[in-house]
């Protein structure tokens, strides 16, 4: 699957947007202005980006508590996201959901989710809807290594197989579920090893490598779209920040993250590859960097300035009719 220049720039822009968004939230959270829990996706950008670049707006994704990257990759508005994280009326969910519940069904983003393993059944549902309607839309469930052990996830694999759903399960194995290592909590060498027990293809890819993710996702999504049923992609990756902001991460090796940032960073690798291959000029990437920096700056400024939700909002949106 060869990507053209536009696609490469789009991929870079998405990854850069996620990175800058997360790095900025990290900084802003420390000031105490952002309430609640925030789980940052920095380090894992290649996965959301490499998968979602294959998706149309009508394709759906279900996400996790660590959802910012998925949201951005699936086309959620960045201003709206930032405002949501600040709990403002201008937020994508009017400030009622917050970081863990950002969603925009209009662009096929079915929601970040506060419940580990809640996404796969929902993605099965999106895939089922497509199948019943006779549309060739697909659904993707992003799941963590921790979430891979949840019964809801495991039974969704079986359901997707049995119903032959156009559904792809992307396991983001970032090595940890909170402070627990995936090599302990996943009772198998790879999460992808579970695929054979549900008679579906399963592959392991380097989650820092946009091109590896892109290729595996392309195959799986294509297969799903053509009626070939579900599959598993396990992307081995790392998260740069703590489980949530405030996590001291003493469970990690001393320079664990530093080393990865220096040797495997997805943006670094991508930039090197595309510039060395002469596909893109470094200046073009730098232009994007500037563009995104301004975008994120603007999002934060707007979020801070925006009003909080009005009191009436407490009681609305519970039901369509009651």
């Amino acid at each position: 699957m060869q990507l053209n220049k536009d696609e490469l720039l789009t991929a870079y822009r998405t990854m850069r947007s996620i990175r800058d968004f997360e790095e900025r939230v990290h900084i802003e959270f420390a000031t105490g202005e952002i309430p609640g829990f925030v789980h940052l996706y920095a380090g894992e950008e290649a996965i959301a980006t490499g998968v979602c670049i294959h998706l149309r707006e009508v394709d759906r994704i279900a996400s996790t508590h660590r959802g910012h990257g998925h949201c951005i990759a699936k086309g959620c508005d960045i201003d709206g996201m930032m405002s949501e994280i600040y709990g403002k009326a201008s937020g994508l969910c009017k400030g009622k959901g917050g970081s863990m519940h950002i969603a925009n069904l209009d662009v096929g983003m079915m929601g970040a989710n506060g419940i580990g393993g809640a996404g796969p059944p929902l993605a099965c549902g999106a895939a089922l809807a497509a199948k019943i309607k006779g549309e060739d839309n697909v659904a993707v469930a992003f799941v963590g290594d921790g979430g891979s052990n949840q019964g809801t996830t495991l039974e969704s694999l079986n359901l997707a197989k049995v119903w032959n759903l156009p559904c792809v399960f992307v396991f983001e194995n970032n090595g940890y579920a909170e402070a627990t290592a995936s090599k302990w909590s996943v009772g198998a060498e790879n999460i992808a090893d579970r695929a054979s027990g549900f008679a579906m293809p399963g592959v392991v890819v380097d989650g820092h490598d946009f091109f590896a993710v892109h290729e595996a996702a392309g195959e799986a999504i294509e297969r799903a779209r053509k009626g070939g049923g579900p599959s598993i992609i396990e992307a081995k990756v790392n998260r740069y920040f703590g489980h949530f902001e405030g996590d001291a991460q003493t469970y990690r090796g001393p320079d664990e993250v530093k080393k990865i940032r220096e040797t495997k960073d997805c943006l670094m690798k991508f930039s090197q590859q595309v510039t060395e291959a002469g596909l893109v000029e470094r200046t073009e990437l730098e232009a994007i960097d500037r563009e995104i920096a301004a975008l994120i700056e603007g999002a934060v400024t707007k979020a801070k300035a925006a009003p909080k939700p009005a009191a009436e909002e407490l009681l609305t949106d519970v039901y369509v009719s009651y």
Binding site: G111, P121, C124, G125, V318, Y319, V320
Partner: protein, 334 residues
Amino acid sequence: MARAITFQQAINEALDQEMARDPSVFVMGEDVVGGEGAEGDMDAWGGVLGVTKGLYGKYGGRIMDTPISESAFIGAAVGAAACGMRPVAELMFNDFFGVCFDQIYNQAAKFRYMFGGKAKTPVVVRTMIGAGFRAAAQHSQSLYAIFTHIPGLKCVVPATPYDAKGLLIQAIRDDDPVMFCEHKLLYQVEGEVPEEPYTVPFGEANIAREGKDATIVTLGRMVHLANEAAENLAKDGIDCEVIDLRTTSPIDKETVLESAEKTGRIVVLDEATPRCSIATDISAMIGENCFASLKAPIKLVTAPHTPIPFSDVLEDLYVPDVAKIEASVREIAG
């Protein structure tokens, strides 16, 4: 045209008519077809008690068996609903909610609010409730208090074939997630049911019997026992009003409070266990709003705070009966 059909037929007809009307309606559950993958007949079961029987022949791929994976398939119904479908998922017995409730209460029920009003999740979960079937502790519960406790969920407990059909059609057309609770002992009850589709609105209680001396507020199968008790009491000159709530969420506050103000004497009758129940819910609502009109304490007639016993003699003691209802009304009747 109304004819007498059973409660079970009424539900089947509601599903049939809605599936015919709207291609986005589909049905799924364990053995709602029955026979998937087997050598013999498809549609061999049509649900464990035959309620969905015959729909497969008409709607094929829109009625689907599932593996025993309630979280996955009810979650799939929720996900499909969020994507524009109108799924009717069957949770065979409401007792099984403990393996899958997250998808109902944290997902379906909260999407709209969490997403700032931008989601709509019109999923119906049909589920069997009720004791009296000798089905013991894990197949006989009536858990609608739990469903009612959850903001964002609606909860329906029909008592008659007429309501079963009209409320189910409403549930399917409704844009919010609905728990639709079918009492297994009502399936064979007959009643007049119009042939054409119709809806019974949510949040409108049915005054099953008008009366002036006392009010029995109840729901589901207990409506029939309340009616019987009321008839017996009428012979002694005690004129009971019987209110069938029909839906517990939304609740028809107005009808209940009006009756309470009129009679001033209330029995709340509920076959579920007593703590944090619909019985306490109604009692508290009346207590808070009709204080000045009450002529006697509000009596609660419920099952005891115990699991449901298997043995028939014990189960018969467990479920409120007509004698207990009568006695409670007499206790407070002036």
